[in-house]
């Protein structure tokens, strides 16, 4: 392949990377080999050679098509996927309290006593002072939500249990075929999958920071068996962003991928999108599913009820966390909440640190 062609192709790969597709150098090299194998003269060869090697996800394909048109046919440049929404960081708790010059904050620190921890546990997260918020963030990072394990199909050597013929026989083999002690095996235990659906619509905005931090703690605890999605007007998977170690960096990264921050609420459609694209294929099967939402539905609440029934049939246990549940005199009468209620295994509050701590217990018992 000539030098010019290589440069053009590499330029295209860079455009694609800019548009948000993970076109690593290794993939670029594979693309050059693929296009070379198909022949550069053929436009279809260039298209498919690139698509088969650079894309790795169905979501990449639309971006790829747009970038391909823009680069080779001079169409409009693709919008970078990460810049689809203005870069927003969850700043529910206002400015940082780290700058020591704040006299109010210093005074509060001085007053902080052991009993404050108890107050903080019970108080609604939206009614906290700056110092208390910082303390809350620290406490949230210490939570370790994890469902109780389930039995796997896999077996492990154990002191008691069924006889393991294979290991018994191989033990016999070492003793010249004489029967020795019986080897036994038992079923291995595996962590159950935990799926968190976090409502990020306008009505839930005051709680979003605390809930996403809770989600981050869950992902940090079990990175491979925890999945987090946000629901609002759309459904977005943010597990990848939340796998970052630092909570603030993880929240900033998830803020960049969520396109519908503080927007309206179409819970039914968003839950349906989750079930269609992830849940039914396996993510929700046998999992503990936790929905964080106030159940404020602008769409059709009948659809939400139908989708929650579908979710309940797939999941091991469905938990609904509603911040208003913790308030005196609250009754789940909002259209969406009433529709979802019959399909829930647990209905808990999530308005304070104490409530979220209790939720860890609910998840662990599930």
């Amino acid at each position: 392949m000539s030098r010019d062609v290589t440069d053009v192709l590499l330029g295209f790969a860079r455009t694609l990377r800019h548009a948000g597709v993970d076109a690593s150098p290794e993939r670029m090299q594979a693309m050059l080999a693929a296009v070379d194998g198909l022949g550069v003269a053929d436009p279809a060869g260039v298209y498919w050679g690139g698509r088969l090697t650079l894309c790795a996800d169905p979501d990449d394909i639309a971006t790829y098509d747009a970038a391909f048109t823009a680069y080779f046919q001079g169409g409009p440049a693709p919008v970078p996927r990460s810049a689809g929404a203005p870069q927003r960081v969850v700043t529910l708790f206002g400015g940082d309290v780290a700058d020591g010059g704040d006299s109010d904050a210093t005074r509060e620190v001085e007053h902080a006593a052991a009993s404050d921890a108890e107050v903080l546990r019970r108080r609604d997260v939206t009614a906290l002072s700056a110092v208390e918020r910082a303390e809350l963030r620290r406490l949230l990072a210490l939570l370790a939500p994890s469902p109780s394990p389930r039995f796997s199909r896999r077996q492990r050597p154990a002191a008691r249990g069924a006889v393991d013929p294979q290991r018994t026989v191989s033990r016999m083999l070492r003793h010249a075929g004489e029967p020795t002690r019986l080897a036994r095996r038992a079923r291995r235990r595996k962590p159950r999958r935990l799926v968190l659906l976090v409502d990020v619509s306008g009505s839930m905005a005051p709680y979003a920071d605390a809930l996403l931090r809770f989600a981050h703690a869950a992902v940090r605890r079990r990175p491979m068996t925890t999945e987090v999605f946000t629901i609002g007007t759309r459904m977005t998977r943010i597990t990848r962003a939340l796998r970052m170690r630092d909570p603030d960096a993880a929240l900033a990264a998830s803020g960049r991928v969520i396109p519908d921050w503080s927007g309206g609420t179409r819970l039914g459609e968003a839950v349906k999108a989750f079930l269609d694209r992830w849940g039914q294929r396996g993510t929700a099967r046998g999992a503990v599913v936790v929905v964080f939402s106030d159940g404020w539905e602008r769409g059709d609440s009948a659809l939400l009820g139908e989708q929650m029934r579908r979710l309940a049939r797939l999941a091991h246990r469905v938990v609904w966390v509603n911040p208003h549940q913790g308030k005196a005199g609250y009754a789940p009468l909002a259209g969406g909440m009433a529709a979802a209620l019959p399909h829930l295994d647990d209905f808990v509050a999530g308005h304070s640190f104490g409530a979220l701590e209790d939720l860890v217990g609910v998840i662990a018992r599930a």
Partner: protein, 301 residues
């Protein structure tokens, strides 16, 4: 560095034509993906809705290239002794006892070293799919539903695929003469690790277009009348647009057409469609939805 010598098609169009002769109708993207997998020797990673023909593609690819077809069905708890190899312990013990008995009868001393060497002979090794694929080349290896296996298995598979060889402590290294052409499929029940995807060609398999689906029905079920094939393809296509819980794939369309044919249908009339709906829709909600919309409507009447 073609992975399969011998009957490798020279370009994607030739591969598509050869696949068609085996009864598999691939679209352009899939034909190019298959061609590149053969030519570059990279594993092909296929994703798509259930029933779009991912597994059938691997089988057709094996037929076309005249390679042996080895399938590894993944499931939770799959480990090396089920995917790679295992020692046949009962036979080893029998062998050991026979040697002992013969030696005692002849009044000889048993040579311990020779006995041990003979115990770990190739004939006592049970080859599981991955080892079978390495030992029989050329070969098309289908790793079906990789997303069902545990994620540790991916790393293990990656190692076997990139080396095209395995080491058995008691026997030594077994390497493939020509690396197997690997086809991996996933239904996306979980996300497969990037390290594995990076080494593969990635293709998302779409549902076929109307014309292609008619052609597939005709090719796979020659006994079905052309009119019935067109009716079934049209109705299936409309069902896919209905936003059902489980949109029917090609596999369901084939089942439906053969069910209708078994009932002696030459065209798809609403009554027959209603009683055979279970062949194409697998959820009660979906069947109810289609019935409430009117089956006649679905048939484009």
């Amino acid at each position: 560095m073609s992975a399969i010598t011998g009957r490798t098609p020279g370009n994607p169009a030739e591969l598509a034509a050869a696949l068609e002769r085996t009864g598999y109708l691939a679209d352009d993207g899939l034909a190019i993906a298959g061609y590149l997998a053969l030519r570059l020797g990279r594993p092909l990673f296929l994703e798509g809705d259930a029933g779009v023909g991912k597994t059938a593609f691997a089988q057709a690819l094996a037929t076309v290239t005249g390679a042996r077809f080895v399938r590894l069905q993944c499931y939770e708890g799959l480990d090396a002794s089920q995917a790679l190899y295992d020692w046949d312990f009962p036979r080893q013990i029998l062998h050991l006892r026979t040697i002992e008995a013969t030696a005692v009868a002849a009044g000889e001393q048993v040579n311990a070293e020779a006995v041990e060497a003979s115990l770990y002979d190739r004939r006592f090794l049970v080859a599981r799919p991955l080892l079978q694929a390495l030992e029989s080349s050329p070969c098309v290896l289908l790793v079906d539903e990789i997303d069902r296996a545990d994620d540790e298995f991916e790393a293990f598979l990656l190692e076997v695929l990139s080396e095209s060889a395995i080491s058995i402590p008691e026997l030594g290294r077994i390497a493939a003469e020509t690396p197997p052409v690997a086809v991996l499929t996933s239904n996306r029940t979980r996300e497969v690790h990037d390290a594995l995807k990076r080494r593969c060609l990635y293709h998302w398999v779409e549902h076929p277009t109307f014309d292609r689906e008619v052609a597939i029905l005709r090719a796979r079920l020659p006994e079905v009348s052309e009119r019935l094939a067109a009716d079934v393809a049209g109705a299936t296509l409309r069902m896919r647009e209905l936003d059902l819980l489980k949109p029917p794939g090609v596999a369901e369309a084939l089942d439906w057409a053969s069910a209708l044919d078994a009932l002696g249908a030459k065209t798809l009339d609403p009554d027959l469609a209603a009683v055979t709906l279970g062949a194409v829709l697998k959820y009660r909600e979906d069947s109810e939805r289609v019935r409430s919309l009117g089956i006649a409507e679905l048939l484009g009447a």
